[in-house]
């Protein structure tokens, strides 16, 4: 337990690779007491908490841009009611400390789709907590993180399935350069009532240079007996044989590396992104690959 106004440090499970206490040291931020998630309490303190209700049968798409000077702490509480559908795109850009928390509750047959692209900051954590309360709900959680020297990006998520026939798909891809730190923590909890759940989690990271760091903690916690649950987690380097193949065809080494890295990251972009956002994210990835090569 954390005291009402204390912040979790790296000795606290879930914050080991993203020490919030250290990141906010010396900054006197208002934080409200209570049972809410620490990031939500910081967001309320900063008056950046918003509630979203998507009424039964309705569809909504939001685009959220996180980051900037100083500390940007914000939170969303999203209620996606029966048969409703919510899509959320989060773009985290440059900044000092970027904190975003969203808590999502899904009704029967509801859909929540999220795509996060994080360029990292001195400290950046985007945390998603999902409660699948209604049967037959669908969740898609995709993300890309790109961390260069001095940058940190943490994508943490938890999906708690409480009702039957949940369908959950998660694909997160990341790339880290020397001095950059990426963190992926994903947890699926399938409660006893969540029979026939079908959940897949995938996280893959590329360590582009020596001295790049990626920490991953995928967790499945299953209490129902008739479920399909799987996770895959890899982190590694670019395949030198593939790089040679591209260079043999005439691509300079830097371009060959960028081409393969780009293709790897693009695979985490969901097909529901609209064209403008898709193009923006691609441009962001290209700029990142070009700027730091």
């Amino acid at each position: 337990m954390i005291a009402a106004n204390a912040l979790p440090n790296r000795r606290v499970e879930g914050w080991r690779w993203s020490d919030l206490s250290a990141a906010l040291a010396g900054r006197d931020l208002p934080i409200i007491p209570g049972d809410r998630h620490v990031l939500a309490r910081l967001a309320i303190g900063a008056r950046r908490m918003a509630g979203i209700v998507v009424n039964a049968g309705e569809t909504r798409t939001d685009i959220e841009r996180v980051g900037g000077e100083g500390v940007d702490a914000r939170a969303l509480e999203i209620d996606v009611r029966d048969g409703a559908s919510m899509s959320l795109v989060t773009i985290q850009q440059e900044g000092d400390v970027a904190l975003a928390h969203r808590k999502v509750r899904l009704g029967q047959g509801a859909t929540f789709r999220q795509f996060v692209v994080a360029g990292g900051a001195q400290y950046a954590r985007i945390e998603t907590e999902i409660e699948v309360a209604g049967s037959g709900a669908k969740v898609e959680l995709n993300g890309v993180y790109l961390v260069a020297k001095g940058r940190h990006a943490d994508l943490t998520s938890q999906v708690v399935m409480q009702a039957d026939h949940a369908e959950v798909r998660q694909i997160v891809r990341g790339a880290a350069r020397k001095g950059g730190r990426g963190v992926f923590q994903g947890r699926f909890k399938v409660e006893r009532a969540a029979q026939k759940a079908d959940a897949k989690m995938e996280h893959n990271a590329l360590l582009l240079e020596d001295g790049a760091e990626v920490f991953a903690k995928p967790e499945l916690e299953i209490y129902a007996d008739d479920v399909q649950c799987a996770h895959g987690n890899t982190s590694g380097q670019l395949d030198e044989a593939a790089i040679f193949y591209l260079r043999q065809r005439g691509l300079p080494e830097i371009e060959a590396r960028a081409m393969i890295t780009r293709a790897f990251l693009i695979e985490a972009l969901p097909d529901w992104l609209d064209e403008t956002i898709h193009a923006e994210v691609e441009a962001r990835i290209d700029a990142w690959l070009g700027a730091v090569s």
């Binding site: 043999q248 005439g250 081409m259």
Partner: protein, 253 residues
């Protein structure tokens, strides 16, 4: 066009000791000629193709490799490619997320840029691609798919030759291009390769079997064994090998 003199090279694995593979290989391929290299497993055929194209993990310890009078050995792979060196891989790599045409166009333009030439225009590129695909009987849909991902062995080999037709190299190394091909595919691929034969182009055809050489007729045949050329001759040497085996042929002085 290509002059190899007393080439010694070793493979340097990331872990483990290095091993000498090429042990004094000498070979001359004049402009316009097709030479075949045959040899048993482990004789150094693939190492030769990698040393010539500049793959990492190989170290040349002695000897020279001149391409049009210029030493190749210190050049990066992409510079060699821009100078016209092309390797048709024995095992082409799968590149997820990169469509064939996107890749080939990027490669073509990178080579042109390195040579100080203008980029290929989109209509010109599509026209070249259509002609090459037709020649090799490649379904145009395949060219929109990620490079080699999920392609059969035969499809991958066809795609190597498609890239060759598109990039119009001047010195081609075909490493076991016949493996994985049935006889019909072999003919199609050989026709594609033969379309590139000309007075300004040379080829090194690396193969285990004589079969490919029925379709891509070599001017000279060399036998590689334990890292050296141990015997050279005309096309009849390949037939002799096929009939009597490496041991017998190499045993004859």
């Amino acid at each position: 066009m290509l002059e190899l003199t007393n080439l010694h090279a070793r493979v340097v694995p990331e872990d483990g000791p290095s091993r000498e593979i090429l042990k004094g290989l000498s070979l001359s391929v004049p402009k316009g000629e097709v030479h075949a290299i045959m040899g048993p497993n482990g004789s150094g055929k693939s190492t030769l193709s990698y040393v010539l194209t500049g793959r990492g993990g190989y170290e040349v310890t002695e000897g020279a490799a001149l391409y049009e009078g210029e030493s190749l050995l210190s050049l990066p792979p992409e510079t060699r490619a821009a100078k016209g060196l092309f390797l048709s891989f024995q095992y082409p790599l799968e590149i997820a997320g990169v469509p064939v045409m996107t890749f080939v166009r990027a490669a073509m333009n990178a080579q042109r840029k390195a040579r100080g030439e203008a980029e290929v225009s989109a209509p010109d590129f599509l026209k070249l691609s259509r002609i090459a695909a037709q020649q090799l009987r490649i379904d145009p849909e395949m060219l929109k798919r990620p490079l080699n991902v999920g392609f059969s062995g035969g499809e991958k080999k066809r795609l190597e030759i498609y890239q060759m037709l598109m990039l119009q190299p001047r010195f081609m190394i075909l490493d076991e291009t016949d493996s994985g091909l049935d006889i019909d595919a072999l003919k199609v691929v050989a026709d594609g390769v033969n379309a590139l034969r000309g007075p300004d182009r040379s080829m090194l055809v690396i193969t285990h079997y004589q079969r490919l050489l029925d379709y891509i007729k070599p001017d000279r045949v060399h036998i590689l064994s334990a890292g050296r050329i141990v015997k050279s001759g005309g096309p009849e040497l390949a037939h002799e090998l096929e009939k009597s085996g490496y041991d017998t042929v190499m045993g004859t002085p």
